[in-house]
Amino acid sequence: MNSILGLFNYWIVIFLMMTGFYVVIAQGNLVKKLVGLGLFQASVFLLYISMGKVEGGHAPIIDAFNRVYSNPLPHVLILTAIVVGVATLAVGLALIVRIQDAYGSVEEDDIQAHDNEADSD
């Protein structure tokens, strides 16, 4: 029981990660693929945030009470990773816009069919 409830965060992380990964692989629509990728990355953010939490820990602000603090470093790291994720999403969406212009479709199958045609010329 403890391995289910006690590690609740981590089960969520694994669930989200696998969902995102599955969407990236199984979906043919490029926008949906990018959404899957976002989910996949978000699960890792949760992983980092969970590991920084200390039981009963407070925010790391020094005050009069002698408190236990949570580890702020993973949170800061993940702030950077979120920025990276946003940048990836932006580049990905910009590419999709250009792909839509060039191919007239954002479906993987259509694009691949066009590409195979061009390859065999």
């Binding site: 990236v24 990728l37 890792v44 992983l47 590991m51 993973p74 790291l77 590419l95 792909i99 060039a102």
Partner: protein, 494 residues
């Protein structure tokens, strides 16, 4: 702190600052000169750093004066300064090649952002090599990757867009795997500094978390390294990217991934964990061997010359994976030598193709016909680069193949030595197809009279071609440094 420490930071800061400056100033001429200046200044600094590291041992710089392991440390040892030198040198040569080639391939309105993206890619690659902090490495990896996605998408064929998108998908998954791996290591050790990790990890080697972290890191780096079967993003990305970008990525970015692999397996985890407790050696050797044969076979049947060379890159990365998997000193030496020499040959080849396509346009085998006579210098560069790829003496390629075979024999894997020879024969087949087309095929009928590429394009190409010959004849520099760096890597572990 030693005096040349700030140089290690400057090789990252300069291109990082130059990139937005290009956009802010907004003049193409300024962007060109700035890129050129930064490129050569970085190469000069890398040379100085290599000399300092060779003389005084590893160099460490604490960013913001926060002492490691709390602050971010930039650290250069033999391995780092050696890889930094080859990366910055290729970048400088590619930047020298860029102005004419970019003028031809990129519309004027997009040239300035193109140069900034080139600079950002260079900043990221240099950063990966100098940093001594695992998380910092992930950030630099993403900086260089995001810049590469944008750069690849600038190819004039629309297939470049889809190739770039596929690279973005696989590259991001790879980078996220690396992030998960680093997270697991941080969970167990509470540190991100690589030196510190190397010291603290042995105490927790026997935990599932560290093993999982190692697996995530290996797969993530493998994706970036384009190790077979994780190479699917590479061929089209290199084939449809602009000439400058193909040359830069083929010669530097996968090499940096090889560096990251070496750094984590031999330095952070240590040889004993990676090769004795975990079966990394046999995995790398098997995948490397399959990659060499299958990618070389596919390369033989390619009609698009750039894609042929891209598949050949996958095969060459297979050699490097195989050499790393051997896990003996000669093997690591061979991996480092091939890293250096392959950067030289693929840089020369892709730049030579850039010079050819400057005149001819799309490069199919058929369109090379008769170019041996019309563009003698570019074609000769292609041939010498190709011979180096096959491993014919006296080219640089021969030296690394030689050490690779020595390493394979040393650990008793003689079938692998045969496989390396077979791979070289396959390389001979596809290089011969280029030679046959350029020198023996009847020129295409038509009024188009093709002349030699301009001198500004030929100079960087021939600098690399001559380097291929020079490092094939005078091996004291490359072999010497590679052997000392390999000794440091293999000696550090128990």
């Amino acid at each position: 702190m030693n005096a040349p420490g700030p140089l290690a930071v400057l090789v990252v800061i300069m291109p990082l600052l130059a990139a937005p400056l290009c956009v802010l100033i907004g003049r193409i001429a300024v962007a060109r000169w700035l890129a050129l200046l930064v490129g050569w200044a970085s190469a000069a600094m890398a040379l100085t750093l290599l000399a300092v590291v060779e003389a005084n041992g590893p160099l460490s710089y604490a960013l913001g004066d926060w002492a490691p392991p709390w602050g971010i440390e930039y650290r250069l040892d033999r391995l780092g300064s050696y890889v930094l030198l080859i990366v910055t040198l290729i970048t400088a040569l590619v930047f020298s090649f860029a102005p004419r080639s970019v003028d031809r391939e990129i519309p004027e309105g997009r040239q300035i952002p193109f140069y900034s993206a080139l600079l950002l890619a260079a900043a990221g690659l240099n950063g990966i090599v100098v940093t001594g902090d695992a998380f910092n490495l992930f950030v630099f990896l993403e900086i260089s990757s995001l810049a590469s996605y944008a750069l690849i998408s600038q190819g004039y064929d629309r297939r470049a867009l889809y190739a770039s998108f596929r690279y973005l998908m696989m590259g991001t998954i790879g980078a996220t795997f690396i992030l998960i791996g680093i997270g697991f290591l941080y969970m167990m050790t509470g540190t991100l500094n690589m030196q510190d990790l190397a010291q603290r990890l042995p105490a927790v080697f026997d935990t599932r978390t560290v093993r999982a972290g190692f697996a995530f890191l290996t797969v993530g780096i493998g994706l970036k390294l384009a190790i077979f079967p994780l190479h699917l993003w590479l061929p089209n990305a290199y084939a449809f990217a602009p000439a400058v970008v193909s040359a830069l990525l083929a010669a530097t970015s996968t090499k940096v991934a090889v560096y990251v692999m070496l750094r984590f397996t031999y330095d952070v985890f240590g040889q004993e964990f990676a090769f004795v407790r975990m079966p990394l050696g046999s995995i790398l050797m098997l995948l490397g061997a399959v990659g060499i044969v299958s990618a070389s076979l596919v390369a033989v049947f390619q009609d698009n010359v750039k894609r042929m060379l891209a598949y050949s890159s996958v095969a060459q990365l297979g050699y490097m994976a195989l050499a790393m998997g051997l896990a003996n000193r000669t093997g690591v030496t061979a991996a480092l030598l091939h890293l250096f020499n392959h950067a030289l040959m693929k840089g020369a080849l892709f730049l030579a193709l850039g010079a050819l396509s400057y005149r001819v346009g799309t490069l199919r085998i058929g369109s090379l016909a008769g170019l041996g006579r019309r563009m003698p210098w570019s074609s000769a560069a292609l041939v010498i680069g190709g011979l180096s790829l096959v491993g014919v003496p006296p080219t640089a390629g021969f030296i690394s193949k030689w050490y690779l075979i020595l390493g394979a024999l040393e650990s008793g894997w003689w079938p692998l030595a045969l496989l390396i020879l077979a791979g070289s024969l396959l390389a001979l087949v596809y290089v011969w197809r280029l030679v046959e087309a350029a020198y023996f095929a009847r020129p295409l009928p038509g009024p188009t009279e093709v002349s030699e590429a301009p001198l500004t394009l030929l100079l960087p190409v021939w600098a690399l071609v001559l380097a291929n010959l020079y490092f094939g004849l005078n091996t004291s520099l490359t072999v010497g440094i590679a052997q000392r760096a390999a000794a440091q890597l293999t000696g550090a572990g128990p």
